[in-house]
């Protein structure tokens, strides 16, 4: 009968520092703690007293890889506080900015973090260039990342901590040469993304534990900025009411905060979005991914990888259309006039799930308070429960019956892959640096 403690420090390649500890007593998993090890940097406290216009760039620094989604969400919260309605061109540019982010961010996760597991490699760079299939994937991976990076840079100035999007509009606009080059790059990577979808459709890993999921579902086209919050049980609520439906859970051993919905853990991210809104994907995406889309809705967390690959395809198809069908002209951003006592809420879909920003202005028109709810905070409780169920199912199998180092290593690898499928964002990473068995 199994009795052991498992402790993994420094879960690497998961956007920062996280650890996991679990206890097994008399063949039962009794305790799982998935904790964020990042030292707090107190961004919401530091908002206080700042001018509203400084907040999007300030909050971008919460996260390197999805910084542009924090900028987008913060701009939305600030504009809602001030009653600013962005121009049609601004809305298109923001959509394009999000597509650049999704392509770049999902590609990093899928090629560099998750794909080595499928091929039994330690790292993406270990793929064999003399093997035609692996050679192709190496070039695919860096090519897809590069195209997303180019699009994000063209529209937003930088793919990390963007400089051009501001409250009320943009500071600079893409030129024709850049637009033409972006369209070319997007068209060139489309075949690579079809290969990517095929790889994750056929990936051998599965873990299905029925769970609730939540996403922002747009009214028309599949997207990330506006819509109605929907749950897997069919409940719908407005963006402004999102936070009031979540229960905040203090996780005493972690520097992060967890959330539950109706008393239970839930999941956010690509899988939730594709589950709830797959019919709204771009027509070309629907056509090319028709077979694979039949696998959704699903609660197999490993299909989160597949959902990310489908989202890359959608972003390519919609961005190509938007770039081809629009002329971008200089526009002065709408003037920002702080309103004493104003409150604004922004809700968008970041690469890893629903992101919430709230901003409150004081009597002096400066920021007096704020709140940020990030996707990984929402997924954290589900990750713990999944790890517990996974380990319990493993130790009940005859091949995992002993307490040997080999068995523990096999369990550790399974946990790693499961956590990686969630694409948690503590500091962008995917492998465990150090595994300690007590």
């Amino acid at each position: 009968m199994h009795t052991f403690d498992l402790s993994m420090e420094h879960i690497t390649k998961i956007e920062g520092n996280a650890s996991i500890k679990l206890k097994v007593k008399d063949g039962k998993v009794t305790n799982v703690k998935f904790a964020t090890e990042e030292y707090k940097r107190f961004f919401t406290e530091a908002m206080k007293g700042k001018s509203l216009v400084a907040i999007p760039a300030h909050l971008a620094r919460i996260c390197g890889t999805c910084s542009n989604s924090h900028i987008m969400c913060s701009i939305e919260a600030c504009e809602n506080a001030l009653g600013i309605i962005p121009s049609p061109q601004t809305k298109i540019l923001r959509t394009l900015m999000m597509h650049g982010l999704m392509i770049r961010d999902h590609a990093l996760h899928l090629y560099l973090f998750s794909m080595p597991d499928i091929f039994g490699k330690d790292a993406f760079l270990d793929f064999d260039e003399s093997d035609p299939a692996q050679h192709q994937l190496l070039h695919d991976g860096f090519g897809v990342k590069s195209a997303g990076n180019f699009l994000a840079t063209l529209i937003a100035g930088r793919s990390v901590h963007a400089t051009l999007p501001v409250i009320g509009g943009f500071l600079k606009f893409p030129d024709e040469a850049g637009v033409t080059e972006a369209i070319e790059k997007l068209k060139n990577i489309r075949p690579a993304v079809l290969r990517l979808i095929e790889i994750f459709k056929n990936a051998p890993f599965h873990f299905d534990r029925k769970t609730k999921y939540i996403a922002l579902v747009p009214k028309d086209t599949f997207g990330y900025i506006n819509g109605i919050i929907e749950t897997s049980s069919g409940k719908k609520f407005e963006e402004k009411d999102f936070r009031s439906h979540l229960e905040q859970t203090v996780i005493p051993y972690s520097q992060a905060v967890g959330y539950t919905y109706q008393g239970e853990g839930y999941m956010v991210g690509s899988l939730a979005r594709i589950n709830l809104a797959k019919n709204k994907l771009h027509p070309k995406t629907l056509e090319s991914a028709a077979e694979v889309l039949k696998l959704f809705p699903s609660t197999d967390i490993f299909y989160n990888n597949l959902a990310q690959a489908i989202e890359i395809l959608h972003s390519i198809d919609e961005a190509t259309d938007l770039l081809s069908n629009n002329k971008f002209v200089p526009e002065t951003p709408i003037k920002v006039e702080a309103k004493a006592g104003a409150v604004g809420i922004g809700v968008i879909e970041a690469p890893r799930g629903t992101l919430y920003h709230k901003i409150v202005l004081g009597d002096d028109g400066k920021v007096s308070n704020g709140e940020v709810v990030v996707p990984t905070g929402q997924n954290q409780i589900n990750i713990e429960r999944d790890v517990g169920v996974l380990v319990q199912s493993l130790i009940e199998k005859p091949e995992y019956a002993d307490n040997s180092e080999e068995t523990k290593n096999k369990i550790t690898l399974k946990i790693e892959k499961l956590i990686r499928a969630y694409d948690p964002c503590m500091s962008c990473a995917a492998h465990f640096l150090k595994v300690e068995w007590e």
């Binding site: 530091a46 770049r104 760079l125 990076n149 500091s427 492998h431």
Partner: protein, 162 residues
């Protein structure tokens, strides 16, 4: 280049948003083939799981130093590294990760229990306050161009015949 002749690279993230790590992975888009030939990515958590912590020709440090534990880790990395490069604003000037250093009394009252509870240091430090830094690449995030220039200069210094 034979494996033993490759330049041993360590990449370490401390208190920050890891924006420089993301920039580095974007620079890889155009340089991965060339870098595979000359670099031994010995300890780069974002790229691999089987990391080796022994000695480094170049150690890149991203992020500010938020605790005595992190301070000891950086000193250890310094002792194993020929060149130590601070990348990004948090490593070079300690901000914005160390913004709590500038908080007023009321803000400090709000956060002090969390600083204490998780064993963070009273003051967040930049890397050069803890160890000798050979090269600094500022920016939030670092600029890819400056990163490439500094890396190429270090390669020329460490392997003049490459």
């Amino acid at each position: 280049m034979q494996n033993e002749e490759k330049i041993k690279i360590g990449w370490f993230s401390f208190s920050c948003c890891e924006d420089n790590t993301v920039v580095m992975t974007e620079v890889l888009n155009d340089h991965w083939q060339e870098w595979k030939k000359i670099f031994d990515f010995r300890h780069v958590r974002v790229l691999k799981s089987k990391n080796i912590f022994d000695e480094f020709d170049i150690a890149f440090i991203e992020g500010a130093v938020a605790s005595s534990k992190q301070e000891e880790e950086i000193k250890d990395i310094r002792s194993r590294s020929k060149k130590l490069v601070a990348v990004g604003s948090c490593a070079v000037v300690g901000l914005p990760a160390g913004q709590r250093n500038t908080f007023d009394e009321e803000q400090n009252q709000h956060i002090s229990f969390l600083v204490t509870k998780f064993g963070a240091a009273p003051k967040v430090k930049k890397v050069s306050e803890v160890v000798k830094v050979d090269v600094e690449i500022p920016g939030c995030p670092m600029s890819p161009q400056m990163f490439l220039e500094k890396v190429n200069a270090l390669v020329a210094e460490l392997r003049p015949t490459t």
